[in-house]
């Protein structure tokens, strides 16, 4: 049985070699791939496995494994109300940021795609947030949200409303951070969409113009279908980024007030580096990883029917 397997393997490898004479590039290829393989093994695959492994143990504050705990870390995490709230805030955060970022990014790109005077200026403006770090953006927004001096409350007062503690009221904090995040992420999404719209054949638009097709119709029936791979890419990237949002939460609310913005990533950070409980933090990391993988798979399945490649 085993001999047969080995024989088959030999045959199949012989086949590969005869198919193209360069099939013996393996040695060179491994040399070229070596740096990536070493780095990925060391900093992606090994730590991932280690995180899964650690999540099955109770750990000491020096992150030494103390005793095997099975799925206990997972159970403790999932039963705790902080974690459940964190899960809820994460979902709210993702739902509040992703659709609006993608829609605004696309609309701005659509509006500035025409080649007329001054457009270069608007393009610079709308792409600018891509060039501003999360830390700097957070400081700009901390001012915008300032209860006394900030512009948001000035607008509220102007319309005769009561000022709001955007970052200090548990009811609003997660939306405030989400709002700032939309702004931070639009720049990149905008640039991707603008590039994609501009790569659409001009003749298509000319034909549409000659036939007097309405712009909204053109957008719905032509541009959006053609851009479906771009939408797919942008939505996937946005979802993953939203789940991983960290800097703006750390700068603006530190997970507060009253855990209102204590998302999963922030809890993982706190549990591992502040509460020094790496067993539990690892379990939370694995849960988050599973959520992201499931969502990505579902989204891929779902969009397979909707995305069409040229």
């Amino acid at each position: 049985m085993q001999n047969k397997l080995i024989l088959e393997q030999k045959q199949s490898s012989a086949k590969v070699q005869t198919k193209s004479f360069t099939g013996k590039d393996l040695k060179v290829a491994l040399l070229f791939l070596l740096p990536s393989i070493v780095l990925f093994s060391l900093f992606v695959f090994y730590p991932m496995l280690k995180t899964i492994y650690t999540s099955l143990f109770l750990t000491s504050t020096g992150s030494k494994l103390v005793s095997f705990a099975g799925i206990e870390n997972y159970l403790i995490a999932m039963k705790s109300s902080v974690f459940q709230n964190g899960f809820k805030s994460t979902i709210i955060f993702v739902l509040a940021t992703v659709p609006l970022t993608v829609i605004f990014g696309f609309l701005l790109a659509f509006l500035t795609s025409e080649k007329i005077r001054g457009m270069a200026f608007f393009r610079l403006i709308f792409s600018s947030t891509m060039g501003i770090s999360v830390a700097a953006s957070s400081i700009f927004w901390q001012f915008m949200f300032n209860p006394v001096n900030g512009y948001l409350n000035k607008v509220m007062l102007f319309f005769g409303q009561k000022p709001i503690g955007w970052l200090t009221d548990p009811k609003y904090a997660i939306y405030a951070v989400a709002f700032a995040t939309i702004w931070m992420n639009i720049g990149f999404i905008y640039i991707i969409f603008l590039g994609a719209i501009q790569s659409i054949e001009t003749s298509l638009f000319e034909a549409a113009a000659i036939q007097g097709v309405k712009k909204t119709y053109l957008m719905r029936k032509v541009i959006i279908p053609i851009l479906s791979p771009t939408f797919y890419f942008v939505i996937t990237v946005s979802i993953i980024n939203s789940f991983q949002a960290f800097g703006q939460i750390d700068m603006l609310t530190k997970g507060g007030p009253n855990n209102a913005t204590n998302t999963l990533v922030y809890q993982i950070y706190q549990d591992s580096f502040i509460n020094l409980n790496s067993g539990r933090a690892s379990a939370e990391a694995v849960i988050l990883f599973i959520i992201i993988v499931v969502i990505t798979l579902v989204q891929t399945k779902f969009s397979e029917s909707k995305v069409h490649y040229q």
């Binding site: 360069t22 590039d25 393996l26 060179v28 290829a29 791939l33 740096p35 990536s36 990925f40 060391l42 900093f43 992606v44 695959f45 090994y46 730590p47 991932m48 280690k50 995180t51 992150s63 509006l111 025409e114 608007f122 610079l124 403006i125 709308f126 792409s127 600018s128 060039g131 501003i132 770090s133 999360v134 830390a135 700097a136 400081i139 700009f140 901390q142 915008m144 512009y151 639009i186 640039i191 991707i192 590039g195 719209i197 638009f205 712009k215 053109l218 791979p229 771009t230 789940f243 991983q244 800097g247 750390d250 700068m251 993982i268 591992s272 580096f273 990391a285 988050l288 990883f289 990505t296």
Partner: protein, 273 residues
């Protein structure tokens, strides 16, 4: 691209100006406040009475900003340079070499994009600590030196190089290393620059990882520096905090403005198709 008549164009301009004003407001107000002395800000003034660089001087003197700018420049350059080399080597193998486990290997490379940072950073921290690289430029840079995205991006670029060119070089006695170094890399210069800019922006803006592995001002990057300035000065010296944020944002904003067109063309090509 989509032609409009005069009336439509006017409406478009009005909409765009409105949107641009709202969009730019956080940056604009930040720049304004960076010129307002701390006491005036507490008194409620949001616009400078005169062009006053006091906050910028303070940011440069007290807050260690110049040192952190140098640190960020070093770590970002390190990441970009290494990533271009590591990823282009891998991309070369995937495009121009024929070997056994090519498809599965490429799939494994892509899989690394699925692994989120938070599934790895706890263990990576321990690795870097065990290597005694905490508080070093290498500690900050090391986990980012290989990139599936960059490999994928360059693979798309290399695929457009005609195979005849590679074969001709091979026939002329070039080994693969020379083909890579003297043929493929020079031809792909434009894409390499685009990728370098994109990755530089990303590296300069890294937040969580440098926060974990840098504990002193000798290696701390500007982003972590900003966090520190914010927590130390936010109550009294808002102008200084804003001035620091503006200083930190400026280099990447300039890079973005200079290369916006290149990015929008290059990223759409490389990332999506």
């Amino acid at each position: 691209m989509i032609k409009s008549n005069k009336f439509q164009t006017t409406i478009l301009y009005i909409i765009l100006i409105g949107l641009a004003v709202i969009y730019i407001l956080p940056i604009f107000s930040g720049i304004m406040i960076s010129f307002v002395p701390g006491i005036d800000y507490l008194g409620g003034s949001l616009f400078p009475k005169s062009l006053n660089f006091e906050n910028y001087v303070k940011a440069f003197q007290n807050a260690n900003v110049p040192r952190m700018m140098i640190n960020s420049t070093i770590t970002s350059s390190l990441i970009v340079t290494a990533q271009l080399i590591v990823s282009s080597l891998a991309a070369y193998a995937f495009v121009f070499l024929n070997f056994k486990w090519k498809e599965p290997l490429f799939f494994i490379f892509l899989m690394t994009m699925m692994v989120p940072f938070e599934a790895t950073f706890i263990a990576n921290f321990q690795t870097i600590k065990a290597m005694h690289l905490i508080d070093s430029y290498f500690g900050i840079a090391l986990p980012s030196l290989a990139s599936a995205f960059s490999t994928f991006f360059l693979r798309q670029t290399f695929k457009q190089i005609p195979n005849e060119l590679i074969e001709a070089s091979r026939v002329n006695g070039f080994n693969h290393w020379r083909v890579y170094k003297d043929v493929v890399m020079p031809i792909s210069k434009q894409s390499l620059i685009t990728l370098a800019i994109y990755q530089f922006l990303g590296a300069w803006n890294m937040y969580l990882w440098p926060l974990l592995v840098s504990t002193n001002n000798n290696v701390r990057t500007v982003q972590i520096g900003l966090r520190q300035i914010q927590s130390e000065e936010a109550l009294t010296e808002w102008g200084v905090v804003m001035a620091s944020a503006v200083i930190v944002a400026l280099p990447t904003l300039i890079i973005l403005y200079l290369s916006q067109k290149r990015l929008q063309e290059g990223l759409a090509e490389g990332a999506v198709k």
